[in-house]
Symmetry: C2
Subunit: 394 residues, 2 copies
Amino acid sequence: MPGGERPKDGGASQAGAGASQAGAASQAGTSPSQTGSGPSLAGAGSVLNLIRTGDAVTRADLARRTGLARSTIAQRVDALLAHELVYEAGGSASTGGRPPTVLAFNHRAGVVLVADLGATHSRLAVSDLSATPLAEVTADMDIGEGPEHVLGWVHEQFGRLLKKAGRKPKDVRGIGLGVPGPVAFSTGQAVNPPIMPGWDGFSIPGWFAGRFDVPVFVDNDVNIMALGEHWTHWRDTEHLLFVKVGTGIGCGIVANRAIHRGAQGAAGDIGHIRVGGHDDVVCRCGNTGCLEAVAGGGALARRLREIGLDAANSRDVVRLVRSGDPRAVRMVREAGRSLGEVLAASVNFFNPAVIVIGGDLGEVHEQLLAGVREVTFMRSLPLATRDLSSVPSR
Amino acid sequence: MPGGERPKDGGASQAGAGASQAGAASQAGTSPSQTGSGPSLAGAGSVLNLIRTGDAVTRADLARRTGLARSTIAQRVDALLAHELVYEAGGSASTGGRPPTVLAFNHRAGVVLVADLGATHSRLAVSDLSATPLAEVTADMDIGEGPEHVLGWVHEQFGRLLKKAGRKPKDVRGIGLGVPGPVAFSTGQAVNPPIMPGWDGFSIPGWFAGRFDVPVFVDNDVNIMALGEHWTHWRDTEHLLFVKVGTGIGCGIVANRAIHRGAQGAAGDIGHIRVGGHDDVVCRCGNTGCLEAVAGGGALARRLREIGLDAANSRDVVRLVRSGDPRAVRMVREAGRSLGEVLAASVNFFNPAVIVIGGDLGEVHEQLLAGVREVTFMRSLPLATRDLSSVPSR
DNA sequence: CAGGCTTTGTTCGACTGTCAAGCAAAAGCT
DNA sequence: AGCTTTTGCTTGACAGTCGAACAAAGCCTG
């Protein structure tokens, strides 16, 4: 039960029936400021989830799936219907008895604003409640300009996107932001971000509080990608690693179906784990032999430049590999081996069911994964690798 | 003054009417099928926990701590009192008002049987509900004899210990077993245990089912130690690593206050992570440069033998270090560095708040921890090590 | 095609856990 | 002795859940 006011509403509107009609003042949801009225949504969240995921689409289904009484389900579904979060999508074929009513999640009941803020460019979107984008924009933007400037810009873009999607600010149900650095998720503050000057300790939800009155979620971009991948393709998997290989290397950890952030929100920072045999490579963090300095896109581009190829960043590395340049291919495959060494250790430690490779260099996953698989299967325990899949991101 | 007429103390004040007698048959816990009668214990678990841990000892305390109404607390406490899981331990000093009644967990309400099965010897105990041992026994026992033989022996020992502690089989509320290998916790089966021939897939709870009708929990011994350490000393810490350095090297992972077991129950197997610069060392797993083969107690003992010292196992290594042998000390410190290298990677990946070092070699933690700290702080990111403590087990 | 069967959805009374408010008890303080 | 403060207990109300009965809407059988 979320705290907050409890409606008193003595008898007045009671329509006779015992408890069923309930007063109209109560409401669900996490944010106590919502003003919508209607029947109580208490406990309806899990029911809504089942409908949204399509795991159970009729009332009888829901009852069987949750173990609740049919009457309870009916009550909850009524509440969801009243809030227009769900609608009846016609009947279905009978299986010998009364044909069930199919329920469907109303993904048009509102919109969500999302922004993936990279170091130098960003992607913003308005999407419906089933995560289908309604309007998108990609733009260059330097996160180093500081929170006030950047968020002001983000806010302005959100306004435009809303207009473009034909929705009003009132339709917004939530905001999600991904930033390229460690985040204290509960407060929505970046902590010690190496590439986000001026953001340390800045409360991003606080900034949005006066502008959109909805929950704001801020997280490390890798964590968001990990969660997205888990949600869309690996929903039955409990433990998953998402590895982003771009300019740098980071890792989102899904443990027990939830993001593991660690004590300081710094978990998953595998870019600075030492790789054997590369003690001559100096990393920007000051140490030597870091994975990022050995196998990161930035490092690969630099080494390709050194042998005379035209490669400014990780995307250029991808381009060269795609074009079939043998030196680039060999280098990426070797990077995959280095990554594999670190991942082998992580597999022994964490024992995930799946490793997903994403990021810029994930686009040449054939080469990268070949190296990764080669080393992980050699260096990890058989039990841990028995059912381990290493796959590219989608 | 809306008071007016209120029935105060309607005559039969106590009467303990209805349910309070409730015999001692019922019990709290997870299984919903319990048939014991008496007041409902619904939701009383959290209240019981607060009392047991001493976090809240009076009814008013409990109300403040849980945020529940005082009346609700009273009801729950009544249920616990009726079940004799809690008793009133007299009053306490007043702070200006009515002095509160102190509640105490009745750790004599039952006993728990626990067994820590090692590879070659075991520790068994009967303990009360506050984990205070009432009777203990340590004995040599080869786990390789197979489950039927070993569990038969365990069962017999449990019987003796019960008698010794003056308790009856009826008093047993639960059984906990630690085994030296990966365990599928939900089913209580060992999976692919390298040093437990004949146990693979054997259902340990199934074996006990007919003998004690109580829940049986089986887990990897390292996980149990990790949980114990977390429970006794680090209860406020969300993420913790417990590293056991004995003959081999293993690691229990506490993530989000719970054991992380991984997809196959193999998580925490850091003994076979590769350590740089030791590719000449062959491990029993077949690979080279494994941490266990470099820094495990068995490996250290072997290397001490090679230079002419008398060291058969990890305990002998401890003895030599304690006696001040400089070669043994140097070797352990060097082992600490190797361990530190692996832990540095684990810290970057997992970002725990605490690392606890235990096991045989944990007893010479000064030497071991020196090496561990040296390397972890050098090789891990500042953010992750900022508030990281590395401490010996207690 | 009527009647029976099966499955689904709805209604209704009952029960349980919770809460707020008031009352009683047991101290310290003036 | 009075007053205040803190604690514990009692009571009536309410929300969410359940089980049982009932209604609806299709198949199947004779």
